[in-house]
């Protein structure tokens, strides 16, 4: 089976109004080449579910977003994502703001075909007040009340991984695969970009196959996109681009997203984008972050 696609083909399968999960975490292993492809498209009214970073900020700034399901949107070393802030402070987007762990439970519920998963999380907080569709229910077994975290069913998930084969076996060698496995399982279709495309024999070595966190049946399409997570990280291949994120952050105060978009994304192929940020070699030599 050959699941290779172009990122343009992948974005071509997206429709206005879809609910799209985006893997990674803050500035880490985000499918940014795919995000840039969406930014160049005329897609709109998207609901984005993510442990958010610049992916969420850029999509909000470009007017692609109707609603964000989030626990945080942050660039880590720059704590507050500038364009997500602007969108919220202008009242431009709807939100479902939930705890980080609630999002995991919602993805699991979707993956497992459950309408909801009961949890204590959110009780006593405004999370259950501001989300009117979040129900508090009684337990059949005790006198306590519980939050019924609804399934976060995704039309599509977008992920970036270290390597994959053409059948959609995906490997993540970084220290953490975040919740990418659950994003893949919660979605109808999952499109994956990879830094390297390998022969299936590569995974015959158990030291390689143990870093595969979901079955290929969960992967709809793969696209070779070296450096495709930039400016986010794809450890151990490359760290996140601190200088680029600083420029991105500063653009919010100097001209707004249009300036950044025109400089790096508009009418630009991914290859041209990489030339503008110093080339693939420069991306591949970005240092690993120290925490």
């Amino acid at each position: 089976m050959d699941k290779r696609m172009t990122t343009a083909d992948m974005v071509g399968e997206l429709r206005d109004g879809m609910t799209i999960g985006i893997g990674g975490w803050g500035p880490r292993r985000k499918p940014m080449a795919l995000v840039r492809e969406i930014l160049r498209s005329d897609l709109k009214d998207l609901t984005i579910v993510a442990y958010g970073g610049a992916d969420v900020g850029m999509l909000c700034a470009a007017g692609k977003v109707k609603k964000v399901v989030f626990a945080f949107v942050s660039l880590d070393f720059i704590p507050l994502e500038p364009y997500f802030r602007q969108a919220r402070q202008k009242g431009e987007i709807e939100v479902m703001e939930i705890d980080e762990g609630m999002m995991l439970l919602g993805l699991r519920a979707a993956a497992w075909g459950c309408p909801f998963i009961p949890t204590q999380i959110g009780l006593g907080t405004d999370v259950i007040k501001v989300n009117s569709d979040l129900k508090v229910i009684g337990s059949p077994y005790d006198e306590k009340e519980w939050v019924a975290m609804p399934a976060l069913k995704l039309d599509v998930s977008l992920l970036h991984v270290d390597r994959a084969d053409e059948r959609g076996v995906c490997q993540i060698k970084g220290a953490d695969h975040y919740m990418d496995d659950w994003f893949a399982r919660a979605a109808e279709k999952t499109f994956v970009t990879c830094d390297e495309l390998v022969d299936s024999d590569y995974f015959a070595d158990p030291e390689q196959s143990r870093y595969v966190f979901w079955e290929r049946s969960m992967t709809t399409g793969v696209s070779l996109m070296p450096g495709g997570a930039h400016p986010s990280s794809c450890t151990p291949l490359y760290g996140f681009d601190v200088a680029h994120f600083k420029e991105y952050n500063a653009s919010a105060k100097e001209g707004g997203f249009a300036v950044y978009f025109d400089k790096y994304i508009s009418n630009t192929t991914e290859e041209e984008y990489q030339q503008k940020v110093g080339g693939l070699e420069a991306i591949r030599s970005l240092p690993m972050p120290v925490y």
Binding site: W25, G52, F70, A71, F72, V73, S74, P79, L80, F84, R85, R88, Q89, K90, G91, E97, I98, D99, E100, G101, M102, L104, T119, Q120, I121, G122, L123, G124, T125, D126, V127, V130, V136, G138, D142, E143, K144, E145, A175, D176, H177, Y178, M179, W182, V290, Y291
Partner: protein, 266 residues
């Protein structure tokens, strides 16, 4: 382990005071969010509570805390087990954790906020991080607060603009719960140490940092603080503690955490 230091910074005093929050925790995952809380938890683990567990702030549990900042190329961290984000939640929900976090707002009930300020929820005046893990942390395990600048914008009257973590508010108590199910421990600020053991879980003054008065604390808090008859002075760091802090923070990043790096004795 008990030679009081003659000179120390306020940051160092707060690290040592913060470490006390973890003294009797035993074998739990200690998570200090931000440099001073992380050094506080690390100091506790290196001294009086070696049973603590910490992460590398990425994906591994360590049997020894990592020094903060850039480490030498030949540095090898003491990994113990993998603990990526999804497994962090397994630990959180199993209750074996004590986090020290830095909220933007804290109210009289110990409810805390890192999400939004002002305006309406649909259009906040200031969007911050989002609730992150506060709702789950606060109902699952012990939490302490770190406040680098003790003032009325942090310690707000009324309730937080967005209540991100459960506190001792009877009006919000979930069915089947008692206020004693909530476990908020210490509040470490640049003025004092407090806890929530006043009458009806009122915020209570525990110790004043050297040179700080009760009036300073009350005037900078947007609600009444319970003032007991006996108030200690926050213990000065010992020379031994300062040596360990120096090893944990060899680049002296702690000197950049508080404005102008004030001395511990004012």
């Amino acid at each position: 382990m008990s030679t009081p230091a003659k000179e120390f910074s306020l940051a160092e005093l707060m690290i040592c005071a913060g470490a006390e929050a973890f003294r009797h925790d035993g074998e739990v995952l200690a998570t200090g969010i931000g440099l001073i809380p992380r050094l506080a938890a690390s100091l506790a683990m290196k001294t009086f509570n070696p049973d603590l567990m910490m992460t590398d702030s990425e994906a591994f549990v360590l049997s020894e805390p990592n020094p903060v900042g850039n480490r030498p190329d030949d540095f090898v961290q003491k990994n113990e087990t993998w603990m990526g984000f999804s497994r962090i939640f397994d630990n959180v929900w199993s209750r074996k954790r004590h986090a020290m976090v830095g909220p933007t707002q804290i109210d009289q009930y110990g409810q805390a906020n890192i999400s939004t300020l002002g305006g309406s929820y649909e259009q906040p005046k200031v969007q911050m991080l989002g609730v992150r893990g506060f709702p789950g942390n606060s109902i699952s395990h012990a939490n302490s607060f770190f406040v680098p600048s003790h003032n009325k914008r942090v310690f707000v009257g009324g309730e937080c603009d967005m209540v991100a973590s459960i506190g001792y508010n009877p009006a919000r108590l979930p069915k089947g719960y008692s206020l004693n199910d909530v476990d908020i421990r210490f509040v470490v600020t640049d003025l004092c140490i407090m806890d929530w053991q006043g009458p009806d879980h009122q915020l209570r003054l525990v110790s004043l940092h050297p040179g700080v008065s009760v009036k300073d604390v009350q005037e900078n808090t947007g609600f009444d603080v319970f003032i007991p008859e006996q108030i200690a002075e926050t213990a000065a760091p010992t020379e031994e503690q300062l040596n360990i802090i120096q090893q944990l923070d060899p680049h002296n990043l702690r000197a950049r955490q508080l404005k102008d790096n004030p001395p511990g004795r004012r």
